[in-house]
Each structure stands twice: as structure tokens, then as C-alpha cells.
Amino acid sequence: MKVTREEILHIANLARLNLEENEIDKYLENLDDILNFAKIVNNAPVDGLGITIGANEAKNVFRKDEIKVFEDTESLLQNAESTEQNMFKIPKVI
């Protein structure tokens, strides 16, 4: 099963990545190689096995509903390329 150009472009768009024309074939080839290897999971004897999400079986780890104010809120904007009125500036969104 080969991945098509259309598919990889759709996937790249979902991931908000541009693929240059000259890159597409390379990415396609890599993706095919890796998927061909990865599909061996379908040969694994897993009938009747449940899924594992994380590597630890912890449950119900909750936080108390108590306010802790983060003081240095300026530092949260200092890495932004463009801000205005203490907000992040982006192209106009309708």
C-alpha cells in the first residue's frame, strides 16, 4: 500500500507544514519505507489484548481547586515576535 501525493499533501496541510515540490518525493519514499516496516504490528499476536495508553497504571490524580497566581506574566510574552496591548499579534482573522 503506497501513500499518494494527494495524501501526503493533505497530511502536511493538517500538520501545517509546506512540502516543497522537490521534497515531496523524498518524504513519500521515507514515509512508505517506515510504514512498510511499521505495519508488522498487524502481524503481532494481540487478539483479545486491551490497549495501553501510558506506561503507568495510575488513576484519579487530581488538583485541589485553589488559585495560585503566576506573578511574572510579562515573562510569558517576552518570547513573542509581535505583541500589542499585552496580547499576541497575528494576521487578521475574521
Binding site: 500538520a15 507544514l17 516496516f37 504490528v41 506506561a55
Partner: protein, 487 residues
């Protein structure tokens, strides 16, 4: 005496007997960094000046008796994917070239509480995605044993810096082998703790269900000490374990009599380099002579685990790296027509090819139509892998494998073949899939003089068992006394 060749416990000894001062130690390391960094290229950010200043402050506090902690003034290096307040945290990516975290990672807080001295942030594969540190946006770190070879990855900067005596020890992170494989390539000791033993808060996420922070050190005793410092429950990380803390230096008994070691024969099959195999065979003999009970057994999960690893890790990464959108922090493209253009250009220019490759793979396996065939299946295989290990640990205390199929390879020899690069994780990923602890220690060198690593796998939260097994082997073989990197 050559200060930078000492282990941390040796440094502590000399500090106690006043043979050395904190400033002397820090000076020795900053000199070493200034001398060797041009060859090894281990650091993204060096902090030599601030380190010297801090060392003087701490020295005086210690003299005044204001500081008494046994780690006060001990230098360390930190992989550049752990957040350090006020200091750049780049993940070796153009995306975060100028990123300054507004907070400290929990592990960094713990080191600061001990008044340890940060010598700098260490190079890595971009966002920890790689096995050679060639995928760093900034530089290719060299292997101190042979500057034409890779140090391994993704924690290549950390392992190389320890091997080259540019830091006494370092923190790395391990998602599929990123602590153990570079430690093996660089002839040092690397421990990947049980998932949940060390807080991930402040570790820039690659794959949340697999990532763990761990020590890279010159010997096993230092590994146990650094694990003492960074382990423990953190209310900021709900996946961290709340079991009570233990002192990992207490388990180093230098005795493996009766220890049941299982040798997983599939991990010695084709694809594993001959010299690596024979070196491991000698290590097994050593354990026999030390009174351990060795048994070969079948653990046929490596291929499944590796496939599962690349599905799960890339799926999680494709989501974890979504936040790098050029809005709040990180690289933003200079020219854009609209929001979508801003997103796409910023991400395409900010991420390197390997990161993009994995984001695309991860997005693909999660996308509608493929989820069940890949991601869901992988989660079932994950259960299978865990079950297989559970069975094995009913019979054995420790499972012994090579850390890597090969020794360090030449720079540039694999960087154009992703799949081949992925295969070098074959021995290490299954532990991350199952959440198990593993340690890599040097067990010999090949005829080209490159170190070979042995991996000891323990059951969940059984770090003490593998640390003792590793320590006992180390005491018997004295690798560090026999072999030193060329640099």
C-alpha cells in the same frame, strides 16, 4: 591530579578533606570546556562565566558554614530540552533558537536547591529525534573516542561532554534509547529510569508516554547519586509515581551471587555486530564467575516494539509539537499572506527535516482511516510487550542485552537513511514501550578502539537491582582504568 577525570563521589571526597575547593573544581571544568569544545562541539550554550561567579559565591557560603549540602558547588551539564529560567532552551532547533523559558523544569529546581553549578546546555538531536546528534540545527557533536564518529543520540552532547571530562556528569532524556545508546557509544554510564520515577515537568515533550529524564555519569555510583537527586513524586506531573524515595547508593553491594540474569537471545541475532556480540559474551562469562545465574531465553518482541515505538512516538510528537506555531514564542517567518501562511512557513522553516518527517508520520497514523491499523494496533502491541516482560521477570531479576547493535558509526554514514537510523534503537525502545528501567555500562571496546555498551533491564521501579548488577560488573572489570577516550 587531573581534576576533570575524577568522578563526582571522588570530588566530594576531596572537598571534604579540603584537598580541593569548589572554585578549583569549577575552574578546571571551565578551562577544559574552553580547551575542548572546538573539537567535541557538545554545548549549545556554555555558562562558563556565570559558573565561575557562582562557584565563588558558593565557596564563600560554604566557608562561612551557610551551605552544608554535599552537592553544593558540584558542576553539571543539562541537555538542552530541559527548561531553565532565564537561560536559553533550544532543543537544538531553529524553532527555539532564542527561546528563554519563564520557569525551571522540576529536575532543574532540584539541582538548584542543592546549589549545584550549571556549566551549560548540551547539544542533542532536534527535539530529541535522532540517534546521532547529527540532526541538531546548530552543530554536530563529535565522539571523544574518535572525532569522526557520532556520539550517538539524542543525548549526544550530554554523553560526549561526560566522556570528554567537560562536565563531571549530566542529565539526558530517553524516549527510545536517547540516554543509553549515546552512553554506550561514548563509553559512559547511562540510566533510563522507570517511567514515572522522575518528573517530566519542564522537559520539552517529544513523546509524553515514553519520555524519561535520567543521569549520564562516569560510573555507577555517580549514577545512583544523581538518581537520588532527581527522582520523586511531583504534583505538577500526574504521571509521576508517588512511591516513597529510596537511597540508590545503599543498594550497591558489589555482589551478584544468586542473581538471576536472563539473556534474551533475539537480541543477539543478525543485525547485531560480531564484536559487540563477543564482547557481551565475555561480559556474561564475567557475571558467571561473579556467581550470577545466567539463562538464555526467548523474548521475541524487538521488531514489534520498534514498529510500535515509531507509531506511538511520532503520533504523540505530531500533537506535542503543534504548539510551535510562531505566535507566542519560537521562530516566526518574516513574510506571510495570512494566518495559515504564517503557520505553515514558520513551522516549515523552523523545524528540520527529521522533525517534519516524524510529524508527518505521526499525523498520518492518527488520521481517519489509518488510526485503527496503526495507532490502535500499536497500543495493543504495547500491552503485548508489557505482558512478555512481566513473564520474563517472573523468572529473572535482570535481562541482559547489548545497548546498541553497533558501536559508534561515522558522521554522515546514516543521516540520509531514516529507517536504518531507526533500526539502531532496536535494543532500547522496548523498555520505553513497557516503561521499564535500563542502564547501559561499558563492557569493552572493538578493534577500532570504540566502546561497546551492555544494557541491563530491570522490572518496574527495580532500579536498585540493575544498579547493583552494573556496579558489581564495573568493580570487577574496571573499564575506566583500562580505556580512555583519545581526546
Amino acid at each position: 591530579m587531573n581534576i576533570t577525570e575524577l568522578t563526582v563521589h571522588e570530588l566530594q571526597e576531596k572537598l571534604k578533606n579540603k584537598e580541593l575547593t569548589i572554585t578549583e573544581i569549577t575552574k578546571a571544568y571551565t578551562d577544559r570546556i574552553n580547551e575542548k569544545e572546538k573539537d567535541v562541539q557538545a554545548f549549545v550554550t556554555t555558562l562558563t562565566d556565570t559558573a565561575l561567579r557562582e562557584s565563588e559565591e558558593i565557596q564563600t557560603k560554604v566557608e562561612k558554614g551557610e551551605l552544608t549540602g554535599e552537592f553544593a558547588g558540584i558542576p553539571i551539564g543539562i541537555k538542552d530540552n530541559m527548561c531553565t529560567k532565564g537561560i536559553k532552551t533550544t532543543c537544538s532547533s531553529r524553532m527555539l533558537e532564542n527561546f528563554i523559558a519563564p520557569y525551571d523544569a522540576t529536575v532543574v529546581e532540584k539541582l538548584n536547591k542543592e546549589n549545584m553549578i550549571n556549566l551549560g546546555k548540551l547539544n542533542m538531536d532536534e527535539f530529541a529525534m535522532g540517534a546521532s546528534t547529527e540532526y541538531s540545527y546548530f552543530k554536530k557533536t563529535r565522539n571523544p573516542w574518535n572525532l569522526n564518529k557520532v556520539p550517538g543520540g539524542s543525548s549526544g552532547g550530554s554523553a560526549a561532554a561526560v566522556a570528554a571530562n567537560m562536565v563531571p556528569w549530566a542529565l539526558g532524556s530517553d524516549t527510545g534509547g536517547s540516554i543509553r545508546q549515546p552512553s554506550s557509544f561514548c563509553g559512559v554510564v547511562g540510566l533510563k529510569p522507570t517511567y514515572g520515577l522522575v518528573s517530566r515537568y519542564g522537559l520539552v515533550a517529544f513523546a509524553s508516554s515514553l519520555d524519561q529524564i535520567g543521569p549520564i555519569t562516569k560510573d555507577v555510583y555517580d549514577s545512583a547519586m544523581l538518581l537520588n537527586l532527581i527522582s520523586g513524586y511531583d504534583e505538577k506531573d500526574t504521571t509521576s509515581s508517588d512511591r516513597k524515595k529510596v537511597d540508590y547508593t545503599k543498594c550497591l553491594k558489589n555482589n551478584v551471587k544468586g542473581l538471576k540474569i536472563g539473556v534474551a537471545k533475539e537480541f543477539f541475532g543478525e543485525g547485531i555486530n560480531k564484536e559487540v556480540k563477543s564482547s557481551l559474551q565475555r561480559a556474561i562469562e564475567t557475571y558467571k564467575n561473579l556467581g550470577a545465574e545466567i539463562e538464555e531465553f526467548s523474548l521475541d518482541i524487538a521488531q514489534y516494539a520498534l514498529a510500535t515505538y515509531y507509531i506511538v512516538a511520532c503520533a504523540e510528537a505530531s500533537s506535542n509539537l503543534g504548539r510551535f506555531d510562531g505566535i507566542r514564542y519560537g521562530y516566526r517567518t518574516k513574510e506571510f499572506k495570512n494566518l495559515r501562511d504564517l503557520y505553515k512557513k514558520s513551522r516549515s522553516e523552523g523545524f528540520g527535516p527529521e522533525v517534519k518527517r516524524r510529524i508527518i508520520l505521526g499525523t498520518y497514523v492518527l488520521s481517519s482511516g489509518y488510526y485503527d491499523a496503526y495507532y490502535k494496533k500499536a497500543q495493543q502491541v504495547r500491552t503485548l510487550v508489557m505482558n512478555e516482560f512481566d513473564k520474563a521477570f517472573e523468572k529473572y531479576d535482570v535481562i541482559l542485552t547489548p545497548t546498541s547493535p553497533t558501536v559508534a558509526f561515522d558522521i554522515g554514514s546514516k543521516s540520509n537513511n531514516p529507517l536504518e537510523m531507526y533500526l539502531s534503537d532496536i535494543c532500547t525502545v522496548s523498555l520505553n514501550i513497557a516503561g521499564l528501567p535500563g542502564i547501559s555500562i561499558p563492557c569493552g571496546i572493538d578493534k577500532t578502539g570504540m566502546p561497546i555498551g551492555m544494557q541491563l533491564i530491570g522490572n518496574k521501579f527495580e532500579e536498585e537491582t540493575i544498579l547493583n548488577a552494573a556496579y558489581t560488573f564495573e568493580q570487577a572489570t574496571k573499564f575506566r582504568e583500562k580505556y580512555k577516550p583519545g581526546i
